[in-house]
């Protein structure tokens, strides 16, 4: 049998692959297996999910055109970068692109609420912080439903809270 990927070398590696519930048999050569084992670690079916997200974005094309060019304040990554490379740039990207990542996380995991452990430090910080996080969630909901007046109010509240935190740190 020849390799299913390159059709040149004899197939010596036999794999059963399962991605997103689809099972397939692969008979491939050593070279292709080497490439594949690396790609498999990295891809994990994410490209399909991102492709799905592209359709989702189209329906909100105007809003997303602006959203896509917003840069993460910490690392400079844009959502367009993320769609290209499939990786975020830093932890703050999750806040920056919250609006897009919420639905994506929901598609991947079927949930958007962590119920596992907290890091000891964050457990202390987060009790103070939940205020801000709660507001951020309300903000993205307000923007989505085009309640801009309310959105503006929430944004001011977030700024105020953030300034307070900054002063505390100093």
């Amino acid at each position: 049998m020849l390799c299913n990927i390159c059709n040149k070398n004899p197939a010596t590696v036999h794999l059963t692959e399962i991605i997103d519930g689809q099972m397939s048999e692969l008979h491939i050569c050593e070279d292709c297996a080497r490439k594949k084992s690396q790609a498999m670690e990295q891809q994990f079916g994410l490209s399909d999910l991102l492709a799905g997200m592209a359709d989702f974005d189209k329906t909100k094309s105007e809003a997303s055109a602006i959203g896509m060019s917003v840069k993460c304040p910490i690392c400079g990554l844009t959502y367009a970068d993320f769609k290209k490379i499939g990786r975020l740039g830093c932890g703050e990207c999750y806040n920056t692109f919250r609006k897009y990542l919420g639905p994506l996380l929901k598609r991947i995991h079927g949930s958007t609420q962590h119920t596992g452990k907290f890091p000891a430090k964050a457990a202390k910080v987060s009790r103070k912080r939940t205020g801000i996080q709660e507001l951020r969630i309300r903000l993205s909901k307000a923007i989505e439903s085009e309640a801009f007046e309310e959105a503006a109010k929430i944004r001011d509240q977030i700024k105020e809270l953030e300034n307070k935190e900054l002063k505390k740190k100093e």
């Binding site: 519930g21 994990f44 975020l88 999750y94 991947i108 958007t112």
Partner: protein
């Protein structure tokens, strides 16, 4: 720790002990963690990557749980040593191939290993032999907690631990169980089992020996979902699935050894015969034959060779291990000769 010294050491996960170790080779928990306010490795500049590496190294040095570990910077290691650690499942092949600002932390017992600046800043794993995810979780949970006291992790109360790839966010946890399922493969029931697994949110992979080759009859099953369920719930869901697969493999073994006993004994003993007398043998053939011998040992058809010795042979016959034993570079053909020699020595006692 000298990397060479690991040659005389049996990794924890290869000991062939622990619950259900006839069918379950090992259990592994991996946690992905990232520092807050620092670019993820793939997005970081060289300078940022180095800063992160230094910060983590400094943080780890203050963690009691990591006292007996060695911090190995990949830039200072030769490729053979790196391949050697990959073969021992202490780091990923991908990590070994890129050296910039990367490190791997290994403990003397090879229970804990931590990759620094792989896809995430920190990827720690704990391996246990047999079916034992909870024990692996207990160990890694303590280490994670101790590290979190020294380093600030990127975390959100609703989305949990933040990772470079959103598929790992939430708990950042991947639990994997490596199974040896020769009877399900031989009775051609494995496709049905894998199809059933596929309907649930789990991934199945072959085991990559030789860094590349899928090894016959070995299957690694892991959770896919990391956000939503708690760590304990994830472990419980994997355990439930694994228990069912173990049950199926036990049944398939019973059927094989009662209905097809002469055929099975023949195949097992032929495999052992080849391993005991071959002068040239590839890694692929070794794996397939050892798998049969392991089954023979589990079923009591092979009496004088225990599981631990077979498990060790899977690893010491890998290319980098052979070259470490010889202490020089070997061509592919030289390796096949050396491999056959080592197998003869270990199986003809």
């Amino acid at each position: 720790m000298e990397i060479r010294n690991l040659l005389n050491h049996t990794s924890e996960w290869l000991k062939g002990s622990g619950p259900n170790s006839d069918i379950v080779i090992s259990s592994r928990i991996r946690l992905a963690r990232n520092l807050s306010n620092a670019s993820f490795p793939h997005w970081a500049s060289k300078k940022q990557g180095e800063e992160t590496l230094d910060k983590i190294k400094e943080g780890f040095s203050k963690v009691d749980y990591l006292k007996n570990t060695t911090f190995l910077e990949l830039a200072k290691m030769d490729s053979l040593d790196k391949q050697f650690l990959v073969e021992r499942h202490l780091m990923s092949l991908d990590h070994a191939q890129k050296t910039n600002s990367k490190a791997v932390v290994v403990d003397d017992e090879e229970i804990v290993s931590i990759m620094v600046n792989e896809e995430d800043h920190i990827r720690m794993q704990v391996m246990q032999s047999g079916f034992n995810l909870y024990e692996a979780w207990n160990i890694i949970n303590k280490i994670d907690e101790a590290i979190a006291e020294k380093l600030d992790f990127a975390f959100l109360s609703d989305w949990g631990y933040l990772t470079a790839c959103p598929t790992n966010a939430g708990t950042g946890m991947r639990g994997s169980v490596m199974l040896h399922l020769p009877a399900l493969v031989m009775s051609q029931a494995i496709d049905r089992v894998l199809a059933a697994i596929a309907k649930l949110s789990f991934t199945t992979r072959g085991l990559y020996g030789e860094g590349t080759q899928a090894m016959g009859n070995f299957f690694q099953i892991s959770n896919q979902i990391s956000l939503g369920p708690s760590e304990n719930e994830i472990i419980e869901s994997i355990n439930g699935l694994i228990r069912q697969i173990i049950e199926q493999e036990i049944q398939a073994r019973e059927v094989l050894s009662s209905k097809n006993s002469p055929l099975l004994e023949d195949r097992i003993n032929r495999s052992l015969g080849i391993l005991r007398s071959a002068r040239i043998i590839t890694s692929q053939e070794t794996t397939e034959l050892l798998s049969m011998v392991r089954l023979g040992s589990d079923l009591g058809m092979v009496k004088d060779i225990d599981r631990r010795r077979i498990n060790e042979l899977f690893i010491v016959t890998q290319p980098a291990h052979l070259q470490k034993i010889e202490d020089k570079k070997l061509s592919s053909q030289e390796r096949d000769i050396k491999r056959a020699q080592i197998i003869r020595e270990k199986l003809n006692i």
